[in-house]
Symmetry: C2
Subunit: 333 residues, 2 copies
């Protein structure tokens, strides 16, 4: 668990896109974002107050989060100076970079000397159990995709936000590095040892109030041969009561697999439901979340209307049109 | 890759069952088993020649395989003396114990000094790639089970043996520790990092002759919520042309999951086929392998006849009645 709130380190980000992790934190957990720290030449700006380490400390920040990606995932010497100073000032550090904080001897030495923590969110920090399959109290929703990177995390975060706004009991459960940095907790599922995948999902979504929903972040796709095992573990470890189908209609082939085509929403529905009912016979498919970013508003509306007619369940683009329809569907379960 | 042939170390095995890994090597790869090494008090006997380290060395043995399980997976001091002597005599060591050879400082030091290798087959020895899903040449068969531990490895090994006897081109591809020790190669799939599971299956089953069959060792079950992700990776990484359904009809519930029931063979067939066709649209279910060890011969025969009538494909118990029917079915693909 990463201590919140954060000071968001944007470093020398070459453009706004490079700071998308920091942007995600600011968008989805503004209460976690005390301010931003920018170095000379930084081209990103989250619109947060620029703070020195001392100012952020005084404002309550506990962890400096590296919210920026640079070429090759490197931790540059220019950054190091700030990171070492942050440890000395009493911050923990958190990073989702490929290169690990723990592999930098200077950071490790200073962290040990100062008693601060280094969090590499690409690496599990827990010894997860093997899944026991026992029915847990509370309710769970999982987004499953026709492909990878179609908006499953966004869908869950948008639904979580809408549910909180309505006063419903809801928790977003992160299963990937961006989600973990946004919320400060979760499992980096793609880095878990095979035998413990489903157990790690059970671990992050424990017993809860009967009217509480866990919105579990989806990963991969049952139809993406590289990562389908991870998706399977989410479906059986998560034992969802409700599935949301996630889709991006303009893809020409499966992400990274030119020889593979996306399934239809009907194929996804039937396969996901059959598998989900192994762990939870009451599971239902309650809605469709479509990523319409590459469609005109008119085309998007027409596409969503057709999906609703074909599938008989609500369909929306939660980014474009809000997550209300999907939350209505959950509330009706 | 573990150097063959082996001297099989039975240690102070308390009974025959404790030596079941060694028994598997002797049964399935007798050419890998030069002899057995037994310590005082050993209650197991494979019927192989008892050899000293020097005798086995002279007979060509390259690796001392710890083919025995003892309580807690410990590597006892009594064993250590033999293991150190084996390294000094020029043997590599291989083990599937929970406790790792590499965690024993004395063994590590002697292995380094002598230039010998320590193989812990529970731990991957390769940095596997992410699966690319590209169609590979050659044919592949995978056994999928209604549950874990229903005889999938045995089925593949029995089919491999029968195919070799018929002069067909066949390779058993191990995906678990016992299979790896039997053949000297393979992937300990349950210990692979989630993102690389399917890639590791692609890696161990590369392009091959058009008339060559890989018999890929199955793991887990699509219906076993603890391990279904591993099974999924085998189905998509293995891109099988043929599936064998494996079943044990007398189980009262899923192994280790008292709240879960086994699926029917029809349910397994439909789900496995739907998933397998994502990676290989030509995949077929060609036969059923039933573990009838808890049934009388009469009951077994009646059960198999009923399965054949219901499913319309050959069904047998390869241990009891031979793997011929299943190999006939493969040959017809």
């Amino acid at each position: 668990m990463i201590k919140t709130p954060y000071l968001l380190f944007l470093g020398d980000a070459p453009d706004q896109l490079a700071a998308k992790v920091a942007q995600g934190i600011k968008d989805w957990r503004p209460e976690n974002a005390v301010g931003q720290f920018r170095m000379e030449g930084c081209k990103a700006d989250l619109g947060l107050t620029d703070m020195s380490l001392q100012e952020a400390k005084a404002a309550g920040a506990k962890t400096l989060v590296i919210g920026v990606a640079n070429r090759g995932g490197m931790i540059s010497q220019a950054w190091k100076k700030v990171l070492v100073m942050a440890l000395e000032e009493g911050f923990d550090l958190a990073s989702g970079l490929h290169n690990l904080l723990r592999d930098e001897p200077d950071l490790v030495a200073v962290a040990e000397a100062t008693g601060q923590e280094l969090h590499d969110v690409r690496i599990p920090e827990v010894d997860y159990p093997i899944a026991n399959g026992k029915k847990r109290s509370g309710k769970r929703c999982l987004a499953v995709g026709t492909d990878c990177s179609v908006g499953k995390m966004y869908t869950a975060l948008a639904m979580d936000k809408e549910m909180r706004a309505r006063g419903m009991k809801s928790t977003f459960r992160a299963t990937g590095q961006t989600g973990i940095l946004i919320t400060g907790d979760g499992v980096p599922l793609d880095a878990v040892i095979a035998d413990f995948m489903a157990g790690s999902v059970e671990y992050i979504s424990p017993d809860n109030d009967d009217d509480h929903w866990d919105l579990i972040e989806g990963q991969g796709s049952l139809f993406h041969v590289s990562y389908s095992g991870v998706t399977m573990a989410l479906i059986h470890g998560g034992q969802p009561d409700a599935l949301i189908l996630s889709h991006e209609p303009t893809r020409e082939h499966m992400r990274g697999l030119p020889e593979y085509q996306q399934p239809t929403l009907e194929e996804l529905r039937d396969m996901a439901l059959m598998l989900a009912r192994v762990a939870n016979p009451a599971c239902q498919v309650v809605g469709v979340s479509v990523n319409t970013q590459h469609m005109s508003e008119e085309d998007a509306a027409a596409y969503l209307a057709k999906v609703e007619a074909d599938m008989g369940i609500p369909a929306t683009d939660p980014f474009r049109f809000g997550a209300g329809k999907l939350v209505d569907a959950l509330a009706a379960v």
